[in-house]
Every structure is written in C-alpha cells, then in structure tokens.
Amino acid sequence: MSAAVAARRDPLLPDRFRVTGRTRETADTWTLTLEPVDRDPLAFAPGQFNMVYAFGAGEVPISISGDPGRAGPLVHTVRAVGKATAAICDAQEGAMLGVRGPFGTDWPLAAAEGRDVVVVAGGVGLAPVRPIVYAVLAQPDRFGRALVLYGGRQPDQLLYSAELAAWREQGIDVDVTVDIATSSWTGKVGVVPQLIGRAALDPERAVAFVCGPEAMMRFSAEALLERGLRPEHVYVSMERNMKCAVGQCGHCQLGPEFVCRDGAVFSWPRIRHAFRIREI
C-alpha cells in the first residue's frame, strides 16, 4: 500500500475512468464497472476506497468491491443517497467519472491466515467485504473455513443474490437474514447478531471482518465477542465525512484517528471507544 502512495502523482487530482458496465442491484443501488482512460488499472487491497467524482455533482468515498487479484475493471457498488451518489448511479455506459485513490487501510487478511474467516455484513456493507471473499476463493489453502453472515432490510434490497448462492456452491458457509419480508421469502427473518449466535464457528480460530451501518456493527461486534472471539480478531470498517481522503481536511476525524488514513478498517480494541462515546 505504501508503494501505491509513493507512486501517486497528485492525490487531489482525479483520474478519468469510463463506465463500461452497470448492473442494478436494488431499487437504489447500482454496481458500475469502470476502465481507466489514461492511466494504468488501479491496484487495490480489500477494504480500500476511492473518491469518486461526477462532473459538477461532487465527490464521495466509495469502497472498491471488485476482485483485488484481477488487474482490470474497477468495480464500485454505489447507493444513491444524495446528489453526488445519485449522479454516479445515473452514469450510463460510456460516461466518464473522476476517480482518486485508492485510499485507506485494508482488511488485514494476513491476520486470518490459517484461521477461519468470518465476513459479517449489513446492507450495502457487503460491497466493501466482497473483495475478502474473492481473495479467500482465490487462495483457499491460505485460510481455514469461510463464513459470510449477511443481513439486509428486505429480500429485494439484498446485494449480489446470485453471487451469494454461488459462494455457497463453492463451499462458503453463507447465512442471510432480512429485517422483514413477505411470505414469499423462504429465508431467515431476524438480525445479523442472531446469525452470529448460531453460526458454526470456532471462536478460537475465527477472525471476523464486519461492515455495515454503525449500529449494526456495534451489535454484531458484541455478539462476536459474546461467542468468544478475541477482540483483536474483530475488525470493522468505519465511515465518516470525507473531503480530501489524505488526512488534511480534518473532516473524517474520530478521536485521534483520521478514518481516511488510519482507517477505514480498524481492529476492535483500537476503535471500540468510538461506539461507546456518543457524538465523538
């Protein structure tokens, strides 16, 4: 990652990328694939993010949700929640977007070597952890078992449904739940901590990577610790307002941490205070 930093010419200037594909995931979420216009393909580590810019609409941090092992298309799953994200989600094939990055710390897969990988995600939070699953599938001998515990609001708001089924086929223990559903849903209805409570995991062997809304991460981390995982084996990805992504604008500060540079991925012991002190 520091090599990527050293090679970066000006972290404030966007690189141009063209949209080469778009898939609608849910009513308000799209996955875009992007190719660079005049730079090398962007190499990244799972957990990192880019600042994505739509002409005249603004710029937002978006996790990279593609395969870190494949040099090639840049993949971003974006939820339209404001002006900039709506403009990005609106970008058709051939449209140009600006990209600065990658920024931030990665999911420490090395800490999970020889251990069971437990991916815990909620809502759009499945996007930043998908690269972990790709990495595990690419190097199965490097890790123990793999579990994906995923929760969403309703069945039609789940991301990557087809892929979740494919991962099951490939031997990953995938468990999915929704907050509420109609009777045509045959899956689980409940919350992610309940999935954690019943997951077939060995707390001594497990390393968990947790990503989703902050309240969901808080309850999930508590459930993981309740199961007996060691705090230093629980990692979360934090989100804060970001303008520069290089630690100079100050917006993303969380206590002493610059989330863009010291995070977004943090170990539980490092960041647990952020979940306890209100409005920190």
Binding site: G123, T182, G190, P193, R198
Partner: protein, 155 residues
C-alpha cells in the same frame, strides 16, 4: 430413537435445568412433525402448546389486509416457539408456518402450567429461561425498529 427425556435435555433453552425438572417437563412433551408449507398454528387459535424446534425453519407471520402476509421472524433449530400458553386468554397472536419440513417437540401448555403451579421451583426455573428468550427476541426486534439499512433515519 431417543427417549423424550434426552430430547428435552437437548433443547438449548432448557439446558442446566435439574434432571428432576427435565423429567417433569418431558412428561408434558411429545414429538411432532410438520410438512413444508403447513401451519403449526394460526392467529386466534387456542394456544394450548408451545414448541422447541429440532429441525427445519418456521416463519412467524402476521396477516395484513390487502397485503401479502408479513414475516416478522423466522425460528430455527434450537429455538423456542410460543409463549401465548403462559397467560390467559391463551390464544396465538400470529401465524406459524413451516418453511421446510419441521421436526419439533410440542409441550402441552395446560400440563406444564399445572406442574409449575405445584412445583414453584420448576416454575421459577422455567420462567427464567423463557424470559431470557423473550428478552433476546425483543432486543432483536428493537434492532429492526432502528431500520439501520434504511436511507432516511427511522425517526
């Protein structure tokens, strides 16, 4: 084929109960099976029993006019299903539908209520465990009230 006492002892929420109490409870228990798609009970039915799911999945549904029925929770292996047997009017407050073939232990509500009346220690121990389940379900329900995955804040 396991004895009912053994099966009852395997129910997670009853773990740690004294053997004598487990035996008392087993005396009110019997095995049941439900095909996928069938209802274990419906809202308004007399709630004369409760269940411990041994295998399969059960959807708790609430019927809403002019809408598809809403699944408010699903229960799975090891979960306790039903507490309407505890207090009058002893009527189910939702539907329960087997999502897949379900094997469950059914406990006779009147039988157990009687035994709890005559053996307060059994009553207290059982109520403690059931209260624990209710608290966990309530907390999970509250988490869903937060609507953390929604775009707008829930309030």
């Amino acid at each position: 084929m396991k004895e009912m006492e053994e099966l009852v002892a395997e129910v997670p929420v009853l773990s740690g109960l004294a053997q004598a109490h487990l035996d008392l409870i087993a005396g009110c228990a019997q095995n049941t099976r439900f095909d996928a798609g069938t209802y274990l009970f419906r809202e308004g039915d007399p709630a004369d029993r409760f269940y411990a799911v041994r295998q399969g999945a059960v959807a708790l549904e609430i019927h809403v006019p002019a809408r598809e029925a809403v699944v408010v929770e699903t229960l799975h292996t090891g979960d306790l299903l039903g507490w309407s047997w505890l207090f009058p009017p002893f009527r189910w407050s939702f539907d329960a539908r087997a999502l897949e073939p379900v094997g469950a232990i059914a406990f006779d509500g009147a039988c157990l209520r009687g035994k709890c009346e005559t053996d307060p220690e059994l009553g207290y121990a059982l109520m403690q465990r059931i209260a624990q389940v209710i608290i966990e379900r309530l907390q999970a329900t509250r988490m869903r009230l937060l609507d953390v995955y929604g775009v707008e804040a829930a309030t």
